[in-house]
């Protein structure tokens, strides 16, 4: 079985995003960029499935600018076998990403596509589900545990209130939640080795997919600012404040 892992280059998890003064978006100039954290978890899970002898190849794919090569090299350094970059400088919405990935899936015939449940930039949480619809495959979103057995995959999903376990026929789509695993760090030798692993570059045009956005962003603004309130000296003062508010009466 082959596993396909789409990865996205996004603003680093630890960077506080700043809205541009002209309200057109978030300032990404000279900001540290990294692989979307949920996608790292997806890469890790794919590698573990391969290491358990249940998959032969892990292929990372990214849709984005030339610099997304760095993200793919990270996936390769973690242990992915090869990578595909679908290069574009345009904004590509989840629906268009899903259409591109569906074309890649048709060429690669993976048994499993593992994706992050959401990207921490647009917070859409759509691509995996859309891809599953386009391919007509089963989907297990928000995975907490994944186990592959023969031609099925059993997934415990994090849902409101607890966990739900579903079994899907493969090929299938799984999207990762935070607690699925803890991604490994790439070792220096593996980072060097990753530079020699194959990385194909394509364009959306190669796949015949129209990536024109359906949504127009009219403006991007700062959220309402919450200002710091007061500090109280001790518990008695806090109790007093709570009682003023009618809490704990």
């Amino acid at each position: 079985m082959k596993i396909l892992v789409p990865v996205k280059r996004v603003i680093d998890y630890n960077v506080k995003p700043r809205v541009k003064a002209d309200g057109t978006g978030v300032d990404l100039a000279n900001v540290k960029m990294s692989m979307n954290p949920f996608d790292e978890i997806a890469v890790e899970e794919a590698l573990r499935i391969k290491e358990a002898g249940k998959a032969e190849e892990v292929v990372a794919v990214s849709v984005g600018p030339a610099k997304a090569q760095e993200t793919l090299r990270t996936a390769l350094a973690m242990g992915a076998d090869r990578a595909i970059l679908i290069e574009t400088d345009e904004t590509v919405e989840p629906l268009a990403v899903a259409k591109l990935l569906a074309k890649v899936a048709a060429e690669e015939n993976p048994g499993l596509i593992l994706l992050g449940k959401q990207a921490i930039d647009d917070d859409s949480n759509q691509t995996g589900q859309m891809l599953a619809a386009l391919l007509g495959w089963g989907q297990a979103t928000f995975a907490n545990t994944v186990s592959v057995e023969g031609d099925s995959v059993t997934v415990a999903r994090e849902i409101d209130g607890g966990l739900q376990t579903v079994k899907l026929n493969t090929p299938a789509i799984v999207t990762t939640d935070l607690r699925l695993n803890e991604p490994r760090y790439a070792s220096l030798p593996n980072i060097m080795k990753a530079k020699k692993k194959p990385l194909d570059t394509k364009t959306p045009g190669d796949y015949g997919v129209d990536i024109a956005p359906r949504l127009t962003t009219l403006k991007v603004t700062e959220p309402p600012v919450r200002s710091a309130g007061i500090k109280v000296a001790d518990v008695d003062a806090l109790v007093g404040k709570l009682k003023e508010m009618g809490v704990g009466e």
């Binding site: 629906l95 921490i120 930039d121 589900q129 386009l134 999903r157 899907l168 359906r214 500090k231 704990g248």
Partner: protein, 309 residues
């Protein structure tokens, strides 16, 4: 505009998350609702009474019992031939189903809306709520998920919608439900609790979390939340997590205990009416958003607070 609202339920009771979606849909046009499940007639009766709902479509079929997206999405897509917008709550159920519907309709979904600005224009949070985008759709139909804390809840009484059965559901044969472990709790659910007490990594262990946080929550009749760090460390189950990728809450009072205030956590609770922070690090970012802060060791301050309330 004719809207179709996804009703969240457990085949017996309509979930509160539905009510904010009804309000959001009402800003777009006529509100129709879909109850998809098995033996879910009682839910349809409850939805029919919700103020503002015109029609309740009920699809009752074994394949719909567990809300599997593979079986539900084709049904919704078919109903969308006669509706203009599909709206679901931004719960794990809504997030699972809506994008599958959107792709079947070739529509780009608008996730987690905060407001309706026009017939095709909405605001939504991006970058963990550090920016708010106003977006306009060019698609003929709309697929939307709704942030529950951003809209008032529709009244559960006063409506008298017609109930209509919908056929055509079937098992897509792609997925099988095996089991569910749903935590049973007497506590208010996080997303509807008026008061929430949340604990962070500073608690140090599951035992300490229970020993320090639970009595205060009991005293206040509060729901219990946690930071990602506390969940990752295994102090509490995953559905306690408040934040960018966990639950989004906006209670009257949010008490953050031993939570430093990472931006991902703030994204989940900064719309709370009053935020109270107890942390021994006076430079913790949580104090920048807290209305009332107490710099103190939580292991002494919280039991003392519980005792004095």
């Amino acid at each position: 505009m004719k809207t179709l609202v996804w009703v969240e339920h457990d085949n017996a009771v309509m979930k509160d998350a539905t009510l904010a979606v009804v309000t959001a849909a009402g800003k777009l046009g006529e509100v129709h609702a879909l109850v998809a499940g098995k033996g879910c007639g009682a839910v349809a009766e409850q939805v029919a009474k919700v103020a503002g709902v015109a029609t309740v479509h009920v699809a009752d079929d074994a394949s719909l019992e567990h809300g599997l997206a593979e079986n539900v999405a084709p049904l919704v897509a078919k109903l969308m031939e006669s509706h203009d917008a599909f709206l679901a709550p931004a719960t794990t159920t809504g997030k699972n189903i809506a994008p599958r519907v959107a792709a079947l309709l070739d529509v780009m979904q608008i996730s987690d809306i905060l407001s309706v600005e026009g017939p095709k224009t909405f605001t939504r949070p991006i970058y963990a709520g550090n920016a708010i985008a106003t977006v306009e759709s060019s698609d003929a139909k709309l697929v939307i998920t709704v942030r529950g804390t951003a809209f008032d809840k529709a009244a559960t009484e006063g409506g008298s919608a017609a109930i209509e059965a919908v056929g055509g559901a079937s098992d897509a044969g792609l997925s099988t439900f095996l089991s569910a472990e749903i935590a049973k709790s007497e506590r208010p659910e996080l997303t509807s609790a008026k008061i929430i007490v949340s604990g962070g990594r500073a608690l140090g262990s599951g035992e300490k979390f229970e020993e320090v946080i639970t009595p205060l929550a009991d005293k206040l009749g509060a729901g219990i939340g946690a930071s990602r760090a506390a969940v990752d460390a295994g102090y509490v189950p995953n559905d306690y997590q408040v934040g960018q990728t966990g639950k989004i809450v906006a209670p009257e009072v949010y008490v953050a205990v031993g939570i430093s205030g990472a931006i991902q956590h703030l994204a989940g609770m900064k719309d709370s009416k009053t935020i109270i922070a107890i942390n021994k690090d006076e430079d913790a970012p949580i104090f920048q958003v807290a209305d009332i802060g107490l710099v103190a060791d939580l292991f002494t301050a919280v039991p003392e607070l519980t005792g004095k309330l």
